[in-house]
Protein backbone atom coordinates (compact mmCIF):
# COMPACT_ATOMS: atom_id res chain seq x y z
CA UNK A 1 0.00 0.00 0.00
CA UNK A 2 2.74 2.44 1.00
CA UNK A 3 4.67 1.08 -1.97
CA UNK A 4 1.92 2.01 -4.41
CA UNK A 5 1.50 5.43 -2.77
CA UNK A 6 5.22 6.11 -3.11
CA UNK A 7 5.36 5.03 -6.75
CA UNK A 8 2.30 7.18 -7.40
CA UNK A 9 3.72 10.28 -5.71
CA UNK A 10 6.91 10.02 -7.81
CA UNK A 11 4.78 9.79 -10.94
CA UNK A 12 2.63 12.73 -9.77
CA UNK A 13 5.68 14.84 -9.01
CA UNK A 14 7.40 14.11 -12.33
CA UNK A 15 4.35 14.79 -14.46
CA UNK A 16 3.57 17.96 -12.50
CA UNK A 17 7.11 19.27 -12.97
CA UNK A 18 7.07 18.30 -16.63
CA UNK A 19 3.79 20.16 -17.12
CA UNK A 20 5.12 23.26 -15.41
CA UNK A 21 8.49 23.32 -17.16
CA UNK A 22 6.82 23.45 -20.56
CA UNK A 23 10.00 24.52 -22.36
CA UNK A 24 11.40 21.00 -22.22
CA UNK A 25 8.33 19.35 -23.68
CA UNK A 26 8.04 22.05 -26.32
CA UNK A 27 11.68 21.69 -27.34
CA UNK A 28 11.24 17.92 -27.60
CA UNK A 29 8.17 18.28 -29.82
CA UNK A 30 9.97 20.78 -32.01
CA UNK A 31 12.85 18.33 -32.28
CA UNK A 32 10.39 15.75 -33.62
CA UNK A 33 9.22 18.14 -36.32
CA UNK A 34 12.83 18.79 -37.29
CA UNK A 35 13.42 15.05 -37.51
CA UNK A 36 10.68 14.81 -40.12
CA UNK A 37 12.40 17.46 -42.21
CA UNK A 38 15.70 15.71 -41.80
CA UNK A 39 14.38 12.34 -42.93
CA UNK A 40 12.73 13.97 -45.91
CA UNK A 41 15.96 15.71 -46.93
CA UNK A 42 18.03 12.58 -46.43
CA UNK A 43 15.79 10.38 -48.57
CA UNK A 44 14.65 12.82 -51.23
CA UNK A 45 11.15 13.44 -52.47
CA UNK A 46 10.49 9.97 -53.91
CA UNK A 47 7.22 8.85 -52.28
CA UNK A 48 7.75 5.13 -52.72
CA UNK A 49 11.16 5.20 -51.18
CA UNK A 50 9.83 7.16 -48.22
CA UNK A 51 6.89 4.83 -47.78
CA UNK A 52 9.22 1.82 -47.73
CA UNK A 53 11.40 3.48 -45.12
CA UNK A 54 8.57 4.68 -42.87
CA UNK A 55 8.63 1.86 -40.27
CA UNK A 56 12.36 2.31 -39.72
CA UNK A 57 12.20 6.08 -39.72
CA UNK A 58 9.26 6.10 -37.34
CA UNK A 59 11.14 4.05 -34.77
CA UNK A 60 14.35 5.92 -35.37
CA UNK A 61 12.40 9.05 -34.51
CA UNK A 62 10.94 7.44 -31.39
CA UNK A 63 14.36 6.30 -30.28
CA UNK A 64 16.05 9.65 -30.85
CA UNK A 65 13.27 11.50 -29.05
CA UNK A 66 13.32 8.83 -26.35
CA UNK A 67 17.07 9.20 -25.85
CA UNK A 68 16.69 12.92 -25.30
CA UNK A 69 13.67 12.56 -23.05
CA UNK A 70 14.86 9.59 -21.00
CA UNK A 71 18.36 10.98 -20.62
CA UNK A 72 16.88 13.98 -18.85
CA UNK A 73 14.58 12.07 -16.56
CA UNK A 74 16.88 12.13 -13.54
CA UNK A 75 18.52 15.51 -14.16
CA UNK A 76 15.91 17.25 -12.03
CA UNK A 77 16.93 15.08 -9.09
CA UNK A 78 20.44 16.52 -9.21
CA UNK A 79 19.25 20.04 -8.43
CA UNK A 80 19.30 20.82 -4.72
CA UNK A 81 20.56 17.28 -4.00
CA UNK A 82 17.05 15.80 -4.26
CA UNK A 83 18.83 12.63 -5.29
CA UNK A 84 20.21 12.33 -1.74
CA UNK A 85 16.80 12.91 -0.32
CA UNK A 86 15.43 10.01 -2.34
CA UNK A 87 18.20 7.78 -1.05
CA UNK A 88 17.35 8.74 2.50
CA UNK A 89 13.70 7.79 2.20
CA UNK A 90 13.26 4.53 4.09
CA UNK A 91 11.77 1.50 2.39
CA UNK A 92 11.91 -0.21 -0.98
CA UNK A 93 13.61 2.01 -3.56
CA UNK A 94 12.12 0.17 -6.50
CA UNK A 95 8.93 2.19 -5.95
CA UNK A 96 10.90 5.21 -7.20
CA UNK A 97 11.91 3.27 -10.30
CA UNK A 98 8.33 2.21 -10.92
CA UNK A 99 7.04 5.78 -10.64
CA UNK A 100 9.78 7.11 -12.91
CA UNK A 101 9.20 4.32 -15.42
CA UNK A 102 5.47 4.94 -15.68
CA UNK A 103 6.10 8.68 -15.97
CA UNK A 104 8.63 8.14 -18.74
CA UNK A 105 6.25 5.80 -20.58
CA UNK A 106 3.47 8.39 -20.42
CA UNK A 107 5.74 11.15 -21.73
CA UNK A 108 7.23 8.99 -24.46
CA UNK A 109 3.81 7.79 -25.55
CA UNK A 110 2.65 11.40 -25.87
CA UNK A 111 5.66 12.29 -28.03
CA UNK A 112 5.30 9.12 -30.09
CA UNK A 113 1.64 9.65 -30.84
CA UNK A 114 2.37 13.17 -31.99
CA UNK A 115 5.28 12.01 -34.11
CA UNK A 116 3.15 9.26 -35.65
CA UNK A 117 0.42 11.76 -36.55
CA UNK A 118 3.00 14.04 -38.15
CA UNK A 119 4.37 11.08 -40.10
CA UNK A 120 0.91 10.21 -41.31
CA UNK A 121 0.29 13.75 -42.49
CA UNK A 122 3.65 14.60 -44.01
CA UNK A 123 4.53 11.28 -45.60
CA UNK A 124 0.99 10.33 -46.50
CA UNK A 125 1.02 6.92 -44.83
CA UNK A 126 -2.12 5.39 -43.48
CA UNK A 127 -1.40 4.72 -39.83
CA UNK A 128 -5.07 4.91 -38.93
CA UNK A 129 -6.36 1.59 -40.35
CA UNK A 130 -3.92 -0.58 -38.37
CA UNK A 131 -4.03 1.86 -35.42
CA UNK A 132 -5.03 -0.65 -32.75
CA UNK A 133 -2.35 -3.30 -33.48
CA UNK A 134 0.19 -0.52 -34.07
CA UNK A 135 -0.73 0.88 -30.67
CA UNK A 136 0.04 -2.47 -29.11
CA UNK A 137 3.47 -2.59 -30.79
CA UNK A 138 4.09 0.98 -29.72
CA UNK A 139 3.13 0.27 -26.12
CA UNK A 140 5.31 -2.82 -25.86
CA UNK A 141 8.25 -1.13 -27.57
CA UNK A 142 7.95 1.95 -25.39
CA UNK A 143 7.99 -0.10 -22.20
CA UNK A 144 11.10 -1.90 -23.44
CA UNK A 145 12.88 1.31 -24.28
CA UNK A 146 11.81 3.11 -21.13
CA UNK A 147 12.54 0.26 -18.71
CA UNK A 148 16.23 -0.02 -19.57
CA UNK A 149 16.39 3.69 -20.38
CA UNK A 150 15.15 4.71 -16.93
CA UNK A 151 17.64 2.41 -15.22
CA UNK A 152 20.58 3.59 -17.31
CA UNK A 153 19.55 7.23 -17.09
CA UNK A 154 19.62 7.00 -13.29
CA UNK A 155 23.12 5.63 -13.57
CA UNK A 156 24.63 7.92 -16.17
CA UNK A 157 23.17 11.06 -14.60
CA UNK A 158 25.90 10.73 -11.97
CA UNK A 159 28.72 10.03 -14.40
CA UNK A 160 31.01 12.24 -16.46
CA UNK A 161 30.23 12.43 -20.17
CA UNK A 162 26.64 11.53 -19.40
CA UNK A 163 25.24 12.73 -22.75
CA UNK A 164 27.55 10.38 -24.59
CA UNK A 165 27.55 7.42 -22.26
CA UNK A 166 23.77 7.14 -22.02
CA UNK A 167 23.14 6.37 -25.72
CA UNK A 168 26.32 4.31 -25.96
CA UNK A 169 25.06 2.04 -23.19
CA UNK A 170 21.40 2.01 -24.13
CA UNK A 171 21.40 1.61 -27.91
CA UNK A 172 23.13 -1.79 -28.22
CA UNK A 173 20.94 -3.23 -25.48
CA UNK A 174 17.87 -1.98 -27.32
CA UNK A 175 18.69 -3.70 -30.62
CA UNK A 176 16.09 -6.45 -30.02
CA UNK A 177 13.38 -3.90 -29.25
CA UNK A 178 14.24 -1.97 -32.39
CA UNK A 179 14.29 -5.07 -34.59
CA UNK A 180 11.02 -6.36 -33.19
CA UNK A 181 9.12 -3.08 -33.37
CA UNK A 182 10.36 -2.15 -36.86
CA UNK A 183 9.63 -5.61 -38.26
CA UNK A 184 6.18 -5.68 -36.68
CA UNK A 185 5.36 -2.14 -37.80
CA UNK A 186 6.46 -2.97 -41.34
CA UNK A 187 4.24 -6.04 -41.48
CA UNK A 188 1.24 -4.17 -40.06
CA UNK A 189 1.65 -1.28 -42.51
CA UNK A 190 1.67 -3.79 -45.35
CA UNK A 191 -1.75 -4.86 -44.14
CA UNK A 192 -0.78 -8.15 -42.56
CA UNK A 193 -2.93 -9.34 -39.66
CA UNK A 194 -1.76 -9.17 -36.06
CA UNK A 195 -1.29 -12.94 -35.98
CA UNK A 196 1.60 -12.62 -38.46
CA UNK A 197 3.61 -10.57 -36.00
CA UNK A 198 2.64 -12.59 -32.92
CA UNK A 199 6.20 -13.89 -32.51
CA UNK A 200 7.54 -10.33 -32.39
CA UNK A 201 4.92 -9.30 -29.87
CA UNK A 202 5.79 -12.27 -27.70
CA UNK A 203 9.47 -11.38 -27.92
CA UNK A 204 8.71 -7.78 -26.96
CA UNK A 205 6.46 -8.80 -24.09
CA UNK A 206 9.09 -11.24 -22.81
CA UNK A 207 11.84 -8.63 -23.14
CA UNK A 208 9.71 -6.03 -21.32
CA UNK A 209 9.07 -8.45 -18.49
CA UNK A 210 12.77 -9.23 -18.14
CA UNK A 211 13.86 -5.58 -18.35
CA UNK A 212 11.30 -4.30 -15.85
CA UNK A 213 12.14 -7.10 -13.42
CA UNK A 214 15.85 -6.35 -13.64
CA UNK A 215 15.12 -2.65 -13.23
CA UNK A 216 13.04 -3.22 -10.10
CA UNK A 217 15.64 -5.53 -8.62
CA UNK A 218 18.76 -3.45 -9.34
CA UNK A 219 17.51 0.12 -9.01
CA UNK A 220 18.38 0.33 -5.33
CA UNK A 221 22.01 -0.39 -6.20
CA UNK A 222 22.01 2.45 -8.70
CA UNK A 223 20.53 4.87 -6.20
CA UNK A 224 22.42 3.67 -3.13
CA UNK A 225 25.79 5.10 -2.05
Amino acid sequence: MTYARRAWIVLWKDLLIERRAKEHANALLFFCVLLLFLFQFALGPDRDRLAAAVPGLLWLGFILAGLLGLGRSFLGERDNDCWEGLRLTPGDKSAIYLGKLVGNCVLMAAVEILLAVLFGVFYDVDLWTPAAPLGLVLALGTIGLASVGTLFAAMTTQVRARELLFPVLLLPVQVPVLLATVSATQALLLGQPLADVAHWLKLLAGADLVYVTIGLLTFEFVLEG
Binding site: N80, D81, E84
Partner: protein, 237 residues
Protein backbone atom coordinates in the same frame (compact mmCIF):
# COMPACT_ATOMS: atom_id res chain seq x y z
CA UNK B 1 21.59 8.87 19.53
CA UNK B 2 24.90 8.46 17.70
CA UNK B 3 27.66 6.04 18.58
CA UNK B 4 30.44 6.13 16.00
CA UNK B 5 33.65 4.14 16.40
CA UNK B 6 36.80 4.65 14.39
CA UNK B 7 35.15 5.76 11.15
CA UNK B 8 37.46 5.76 8.17
CA UNK B 9 36.90 6.77 4.59
CA UNK B 10 39.56 6.26 1.96
CA UNK B 11 39.35 7.39 -1.65
CA UNK B 12 42.17 5.78 -3.58
CA UNK B 13 45.25 6.97 -1.75
CA UNK B 14 43.70 9.90 0.12
CA UNK B 15 42.33 9.39 3.62
CA UNK B 16 39.41 11.71 4.01
CA UNK B 17 38.50 10.34 7.42
CA UNK B 18 41.19 8.72 9.48
CA UNK B 19 39.56 7.19 12.52
CA UNK B 20 36.79 9.38 13.91
CA UNK B 21 34.87 8.30 17.01
CA UNK B 22 32.08 10.28 18.59
CA UNK B 23 29.01 9.94 20.74
CA UNK B 24 25.98 12.11 20.97
CA UNK B 25 23.03 11.71 23.30
CA UNK B 26 19.41 12.80 22.90
CA UNK B 27 18.78 16.48 23.50
CA UNK B 28 22.37 17.32 22.59
CA UNK B 29 23.80 19.39 19.79
CA UNK B 30 27.29 18.99 18.42
CA UNK B 31 28.92 21.73 16.35
CA UNK B 32 31.42 20.38 13.89
CA UNK B 33 34.08 22.88 12.90
CA UNK B 34 36.99 22.55 10.54
CA UNK B 35 38.63 24.05 7.46
CA UNK B 36 37.58 23.11 3.95
CA UNK B 37 38.63 19.59 3.09
CA UNK B 38 38.84 18.54 6.72
CA UNK B 39 36.18 15.89 6.14
CA UNK B 40 33.17 17.63 7.73
CA UNK B 41 30.83 16.92 4.85
CA UNK B 42 32.15 13.38 4.50
CA UNK B 43 31.54 12.70 8.19
CA UNK B 44 28.08 14.19 8.01
CA UNK B 45 27.22 12.12 4.96
CA UNK B 46 28.42 8.96 6.69
CA UNK B 47 26.29 9.79 9.73
CA UNK B 48 23.35 10.33 7.37
CA UNK B 49 23.93 6.85 5.84
CA UNK B 50 24.50 8.51 2.47
CA UNK B 51 28.07 7.29 2.35
CA UNK B 52 29.51 4.02 3.47
CA UNK B 53 32.67 4.28 5.60
CA UNK B 54 35.65 2.19 4.51
CA UNK B 55 35.92 0.91 8.07
CA UNK B 56 34.42 1.54 11.48
CA UNK B 57 31.02 1.13 13.09
CA UNK B 58 28.03 3.40 13.45
CA UNK B 59 24.85 3.20 15.50
CA UNK B 60 21.98 5.62 15.06
CA UNK B 61 19.39 5.24 17.80
CA UNK B 62 19.20 1.51 18.36
CA UNK B 63 19.99 0.57 14.75
CA UNK B 64 23.30 -0.50 13.30
CA UNK B 65 23.42 2.11 10.55
CA UNK B 66 25.81 0.15 8.38
CA UNK B 67 23.86 -3.11 8.49
CA UNK B 68 20.34 -1.75 8.55
CA UNK B 69 20.50 1.75 7.10
CA UNK B 70 16.75 1.63 6.47
CA UNK B 71 15.99 1.54 10.19
CA UNK B 72 18.49 4.28 10.91
CA UNK B 73 16.99 6.47 8.20
CA UNK B 74 13.64 6.61 9.94
CA UNK B 75 15.38 8.60 12.69
CA UNK B 76 17.43 10.92 10.51
CA UNK B 77 16.55 14.31 9.12
CA UNK B 78 19.17 15.81 6.84
CA UNK B 79 19.24 19.38 5.64
CA UNK B 80 22.17 19.92 3.29
CA UNK B 81 22.94 22.79 0.93
CA UNK B 82 20.15 22.03 -1.49
CA UNK B 83 17.58 21.20 1.22
CA UNK B 84 16.06 18.65 -1.22
CA UNK B 85 13.70 21.18 -2.73
CA UNK B 86 12.09 20.76 -6.15
CA UNK B 87 12.12 24.21 -7.68
CA UNK B 88 9.04 23.64 -9.81
CA UNK B 89 6.87 22.43 -6.95
CA UNK B 90 5.24 24.69 -4.39
CA UNK B 91 6.29 24.56 -0.75
CA UNK B 92 3.21 22.51 0.09
CA UNK B 93 3.77 20.10 -2.79
CA UNK B 94 7.39 19.61 -1.78
CA UNK B 95 6.35 18.63 1.73
CA UNK B 96 3.58 16.41 0.44
CA UNK B 97 6.05 14.60 -1.82
CA UNK B 98 8.71 13.97 0.81
CA UNK B 99 6.34 12.97 3.57
CA UNK B 100 4.56 10.51 1.28
CA UNK B 101 7.92 9.11 0.19
CA UNK B 102 8.79 8.61 3.81
CA UNK B 103 5.60 6.62 4.21
CA UNK B 104 4.11 9.12 6.64
CA UNK B 105 0.83 10.98 6.94
CA UNK B 106 0.77 13.78 4.36
CA UNK B 107 -2.68 15.11 5.22
CA UNK B 108 -3.42 18.75 4.49
CA UNK B 109 -3.64 19.64 8.18
CA UNK B 110 -0.19 18.31 9.02
CA UNK B 111 1.38 20.02 6.00
CA UNK B 112 -0.19 23.35 6.95
CA UNK B 113 0.96 23.00 10.55
CA UNK B 114 4.54 22.26 9.52
CA UNK B 115 4.55 25.20 7.11
CA UNK B 116 3.26 27.49 9.84
CA UNK B 117 5.94 26.26 12.21
CA UNK B 118 8.72 27.35 9.85
CA UNK B 119 6.81 30.53 8.95
CA UNK B 120 6.27 29.67 5.33
CA UNK B 121 2.47 29.53 5.52
CA UNK B 122 2.08 32.81 3.61
CA UNK B 123 3.99 31.37 0.58
CA UNK B 124 2.76 27.79 0.87
CA UNK B 125 1.41 27.72 -2.67
CA UNK B 126 4.23 29.52 -4.40
CA UNK B 127 6.88 27.68 -6.34
CA UNK B 128 10.12 27.05 -4.51
CA UNK B 129 11.94 28.66 -7.44
CA UNK B 130 10.99 32.06 -6.05
CA UNK B 131 12.34 31.28 -2.56
CA UNK B 132 15.50 32.68 -0.98
CA UNK B 133 18.20 30.36 0.36
CA UNK B 134 16.87 30.86 3.87
CA UNK B 135 13.32 29.99 2.87
CA UNK B 136 14.47 26.81 1.16
CA UNK B 137 16.36 25.82 4.27
CA UNK B 138 13.26 26.43 6.35
CA UNK B 139 11.31 24.27 3.92
CA UNK B 140 13.92 21.57 4.51
CA UNK B 141 13.44 21.92 8.25
CA UNK B 142 9.68 21.64 7.83
CA UNK B 143 10.28 18.36 5.98
CA UNK B 144 12.36 17.11 8.93
CA UNK B 145 9.63 18.14 11.39
CA UNK B 146 6.97 16.31 9.41
CA UNK B 147 9.14 13.22 9.32
CA UNK B 148 9.47 13.29 13.12
CA UNK B 149 13.22 12.79 12.81
CA UNK B 150 15.06 12.48 16.09
CA UNK B 151 18.52 13.15 14.70
CA UNK B 152 18.97 16.36 12.76
CA UNK B 153 22.03 16.67 10.52
CA UNK B 154 22.72 20.15 9.19
CA UNK B 155 25.39 21.03 6.67
CA UNK B 156 26.32 24.72 6.84
CA UNK B 157 22.89 25.88 7.99
CA UNK B 158 24.04 29.46 8.57
CA UNK B 159 25.74 30.10 5.25
CA UNK B 160 24.05 32.68 3.05
CA UNK B 161 21.62 33.83 5.75
CA UNK B 162 21.29 37.29 7.23
CA UNK B 163 21.40 37.85 10.95
CA UNK B 164 17.69 37.31 11.39
CA UNK B 165 17.86 34.10 9.40
CA UNK B 166 20.75 32.78 11.47
CA UNK B 167 18.93 33.65 14.67
CA UNK B 168 15.86 31.84 13.39
CA UNK B 169 17.88 28.67 12.72
CA UNK B 170 19.48 28.86 16.18
CA UNK B 171 16.10 29.18 17.83
CA UNK B 172 14.77 26.32 15.76
CA UNK B 173 17.66 24.15 16.94
CA UNK B 174 17.05 25.08 20.55
CA UNK B 175 13.41 24.07 20.16
CA UNK B 176 14.38 20.83 18.46
CA UNK B 177 16.73 19.91 21.30
CA UNK B 178 14.13 20.80 23.89
CA UNK B 179 11.85 18.29 22.19
CA UNK B 180 14.43 15.56 22.83
CA UNK B 181 16.09 15.62 19.43
CA UNK B 182 19.82 15.41 18.79
CA UNK B 183 21.63 17.51 16.20
CA UNK B 184 24.97 17.66 14.43
CA UNK B 185 25.77 20.98 12.79
CA UNK B 186 28.70 21.24 10.41
CA UNK B 187 29.57 24.88 10.09
CA UNK B 188 32.22 27.48 9.36
CA UNK B 189 30.54 29.97 11.60
CA UNK B 190 32.16 29.92 15.07
CA UNK B 191 29.77 32.27 16.78
CA UNK B 192 26.61 30.57 15.57
CA UNK B 193 28.09 27.13 16.16
CA UNK B 194 29.07 27.94 19.71
CA UNK B 195 25.71 29.57 20.29
CA UNK B 196 23.61 26.49 19.58
CA UNK B 197 25.94 23.66 20.56
CA UNK B 198 26.41 21.75 23.77
CA UNK B 199 29.68 20.43 22.43
CA UNK B 200 32.16 21.67 19.90
CA UNK B 201 34.37 19.38 17.85
CA UNK B 202 37.14 20.40 15.50
CA UNK B 203 37.93 18.21 12.54
CA UNK B 204 41.24 18.49 10.71
CA UNK B 205 43.07 16.20 8.36
CA UNK B 206 40.38 13.56 8.77
CA UNK B 207 40.70 13.34 12.58
CA UNK B 208 38.85 14.82 15.51
CA UNK B 209 41.37 17.27 16.93
CA UNK B 210 39.17 18.38 19.78
CA UNK B 211 35.79 17.55 21.32
CA UNK B 212 34.78 19.71 24.30
CA UNK B 213 31.67 21.02 26.05
CA UNK B 214 30.72 24.37 24.59
CA UNK B 215 30.26 25.89 28.04
CA UNK B 216 34.02 25.66 28.68
CA UNK B 217 34.83 27.77 25.65
CA UNK B 218 34.56 31.44 24.90
CA UNK B 219 34.42 32.50 21.26
CA UNK B 220 37.94 33.83 21.54
CA UNK B 221 39.38 30.73 23.15
CA UNK B 222 37.72 28.60 20.51
CA UNK B 223 39.22 30.74 17.79
CA UNK B 224 42.72 30.41 19.21
CA UNK B 225 42.35 26.66 19.67
CA UNK B 226 41.02 26.29 16.16
CA UNK B 227 43.91 28.21 14.63
CA UNK B 228 46.61 26.34 16.50
CA UNK B 229 45.06 22.90 15.92
CA UNK B 230 44.37 23.31 12.23
CA UNK B 231 47.74 24.99 11.63
CA UNK B 232 49.44 22.03 13.24
CA UNK B 233 47.62 19.66 10.90
CA UNK B 234 48.52 21.68 7.84
CA UNK B 235 52.16 21.91 8.89
CA UNK B 236 52.26 18.15 9.45
CA UNK B 237 52.95 15.52 6.80
Amino acid sequence: MITARDLRKVYGSSRVLDGVSLELGSGQCLALLGPNGAGKTTLLRILATLLRPTAGSLRIGDADALREPERARAEIGMVAHGSYVYEDLTARENLRFWETMRGGDASAGRLAAALAQVELDHVADERARTFSAGMKRRLGLARVLLGRARLLLLDEPFTGLDRRGRKWVSEFLAGFKAGGGAAVVATHSFGDGLGVADRVAILGGGRLLMDRPAAELSAEALHRLYESLTDAVEAGP
